[in-house]
């Protein structure tokens, strides 16, 4: 079965090294999302898998074939481009059937496949239109349809939704999620939008500066980010980052800084033993900050609320804690002064700690 393996993949443009030793294993039928900030090498990686870009080093295996020296057409792949890349002079049906016509499939089979995929994507009524007569969302579907018609074993997507407006994007995202259930294929999906990554991926690969920062399931990445970069990249609004110091008071482990004194779970004691009285970076998810104070007063976060943004079911508070900006998500039902001092606490289990030098999670 065609699992995909990437071993020590490298890419240099002249003296510039863009990808430097990338290793990645994808199981069969897995939906892998490459996510990262602009310029981190996601597209380059995907294009090397597609064969549009030659690898400067390393191997790419699809199933039991090493494909990194093969032509794109011999790799059994289909790709959806960011700008759709439809053939402007062909109507939708001919766009979708181009690969099959080149491969000399019988006409009946071509028609059958195009019809089936067009129904799947609800574009049957567009088959005789030229790309320029379609809206952005329709072009997007046609591009998707062209890839599906090929029935390749690997699907590659390079930011397929980024040219759509926000509403259409979330709609297409939902449709993609549905389609991905019906079409059981290997898919590699590139995006810089972490929400797309979280909602679509079985496995998310976070890249930064040509290196993999962390890979795993969406909840892995959300709950146990491996380093500060991943912690800040995954999750919206992003995690709050505060400087603090580990200490032990009355046999209880806690992390302190200006404006906060937060209790940590007892079971972390052993792992943190060597870091007592040393500086750490504290990561707090806006959603794990609770209003009020604990009975024992063991955990407290004192902030000065500057602004409350009403979003609907919840509100986002923009506050200030010892000189650092903090965002807090609260239930809109609970009464909140939109400005002024307020008291919060944080669930001990949801506190993230990072080494101030290596930025790795502790």
């Amino acid at each position: 079965m065609p699992s995909i393996q990437i071993k020590g993949l490298q890419k240099r443009f002249g003296a510039l090294s863009v990808i430097d030793g990338l290793d990645l294993d994808m199981a069969d039928k897995e939906f892998t999302v490459l996510v990262g900030p602009s310029g981190c090498g996601k597209s380059t990686t995907l294009r090397m898998v597609a064969g549009l870009e030659d690898a400067s080093g390393g191997e790419i295996w699809i199933g039991n074939r090493e494909v990194s020296r093969l032509d794109p057409k011999d790799r059994d792949i289909a790709m959806v481009f960011q700008d759709y890349a439809l053939y402007p002079h062909m109507d939708v049906a001919r766009n979708m059937s181009f690969a099959l016509r080149l491969a000399r499939y019988p006409k009946a089979e071509i028609d059958a496949r195009v019809t089936r995929v067009a129904e799947l994507l609800s574009i049957s009524h567009l088959l005789s239109r030229k790309p320029r007569e379609l809206s952005g969302g329709q072009r997007q579907r046609v591009a998707m349809g062209r890839a599906l018609v090929k029935d390749a074993s690997v699907f590659l997507f390079d930011e397929p939704l980024s040219n759509l407006d926000a509403k259409l994007r979330s709609q297409m995202r939902a449709e993609l999620a549905l389609m991905r259930k019906r079409v059981e294929k290997n898919m590699i999906y590139v995006t810089h939008d972490q929400i797309e990554a979280m909602t679509l991926g079985d496995r998310i690969v976070v890249m930064h500066g040509g290196k993999i920062q962390q890979q795993g399931s969406p909840s892995d990445l959300y709950r146990r980010p491996a380093n500060l970069f991943v912690a800040g990249f995954i999750g919206s609004p992003p995690m709050n980052v505060l400087r603090g110091e580990l200490s032990e008071a009355g046999g209880r482990l806690c992390v302190r800084g200006s404006g906060f004194d937060l209790a940590l779970p007892d079971q972390r004691g052993a792992a943190l033993a060597g870091r007592r009285d040393r500086a750490v970076i504290v990561g707090l998810r806006p959603s794990s900050i609770r209003s009020g104070a604990t009975q024992d007063g063991a955990s407290s976060l004192s902030v000065n609320i500057r602004l409350a943004e009403y979003v609907g079911a919840h509100s986002v508070l923009i506050a200030d804690c010892g000189g650092e900006a903090v965002t807090i998500e609260v239930n809109s039902e609970s009464p909140f002064a939109s400005e002024g001092a307020a008291q919060f606490w944080v669930e001990p289990e949801s506190i993230h700690l990072f080494d101030p030098v290596t930025e790795a999670a502790i």
Binding site: A50, G51, L52, D71, P72, K73, I77, A78, M79, F81, Q82, D83, Y84, A85, L86, Y87, P88, H89, D91, F98, A99, L102, A103, L127, S128, R129, K130, R146, K150
Partner: protein
């Protein structure tokens, strides 16, 4: 082959936004609104006007003069005032003149032959040289050079090369052990030789336009085709050439119109000979005017040439329109 396609599309929205942007601040002074609107609507014509006026003057005056002249009998060297009105006599003469029909045939053969060969060669060269290899940019420059040489010089150079005793080709053939070829003195070969010279000079025109068209093709569509399994030549045939077609069509039309008016190179190479074998219409007109000194007849001749070129352009435009209409109908029917 969509000459008019982009223009209408672009002009309309521009005018529409200009009109839409006005109302809000002017709402209070409603009586100025129609004036504003009218001005907005007039703006494109105002901008086009200077060019239109100059073109009309520079084009219409000589054209009308030539039409007027074609109804008169005027010999070179006599005052224009002494010329006689002869009605349609000049046209009657040329329709019965076998030389006119011969030169019309030569002109058509020449024009279509050069356009076909130049388009094929130019597009092929562009496709071959559309890649990033070393020396390719040098080749590109070299291929463009012939176009920059003045036609008179082209004529002289080729006349020398074709010379049967000491020309370049004669030397080459002799060195290779072949019999000499009567490039310009054989009625059968002369037209071909003339065509070769024109192809040499004007293929670069098609070449640079095709190259520019190729380099502005959407890169991702070509990549999509690679992934869809197209080989190099399938890509050329199914993607590149169809997408270049509008540019190729316009370039070919420009060349065709130009080919009908070519004069200098042929004049220097053959002076229309041997016999009438290379006497294209512009040369025939020239000879009628300045050798036979029949200016009225020459005017009638040049009007005929104008009509032929006009007819070709109209046919071309009509074909484009018909094709577009058919496409729209086909899309609507499905």
């Amino acid at each position: 082959m969509q000459l008019s396609d982009g223009f209408e599309g672009k002009l309309m929205p521009a005018g529409a936004t200009a009109g839409a942007a006005v109302p809000t601040p002017l709402r209070g002074t409603a009586k100025y609104l129609p004036l504003r609107k009218a001005l907005n609507r007039a703006a494109p014509y105002v901008f086009i006007a200077p060019a239109a006026i100059i073109t009309t003057l520079a084009l219409a005056y000589p054209m009308l003069q030539s039409v007027w002249l074609s109804f008169r009998d005027w010999s070179l060297g006599t005052p224009l005032g002494q010329s006689r009105f002869v009605g349609l006599a000049n046209y009657e003469w040329l329709l019965h003149d076998p030389n006119f029909w011969a030169s019309a045939a030569v002109t058509l053969t020449f024009a279509f032959a050069v356009v076909v060969v130049e388009v094929l060669l130019g597009v092929m060269l562009a496709i071959l040289l559309d890649r990033e290899l070393r020396f390719v940019s040098l080749f590109r420059t070299i291929f463009i050079l012939p176009m920059m040489v003045a036609p008179i010089v082209v004529g002289l150079v080729w006349r020398y090369m074709y010379n049967e005793q000491f020309g370049t080709f004669a030397h080459l053939l002799k060195a290779l052990g072949f019999a000499p070829v009567p490039w310009l003195s054989s009625p059968k070969l002369a037209l071909i030789s003339v065509i070769i010279a024109d192809v040499w000079q004007w293929t670069p025109f098609i070449f640079i336009l095709s190259l520019a068209a190729l380099q502005s093709l959407p890169a991702s569509a070509l990549e999509a085709a690679r992934i869809d399994g197209a080989t190099h030549w399938q890509m050329v045939w199914h993607i590149k050439v169809p997408l270049m077609m509008p540019v190729i069509a316009v370039a070919a039309l420009l060349r065709l119109i130009d080919a009908f008016k070519v004069l200098e190179v042929i004049y220097i190479l053959t002076e229309g000979g041997p016999g009438l074998s290379t006497e294209i219409m512009s040369l025939h007109i020239y000879k009628t005017a300045f050798v036979s000194q029949q200016l009225g007849q020459a005017a009638a001749l040049s009007n005929m040439l104008l009509l032929i070129v006009l007819a070709l352009t109209v046919i071309f435009a009509a074909l484009t329109a018909v094709r577009q209409r058919r496409e729209k109908l086909a899309a609507a029917r499905r």
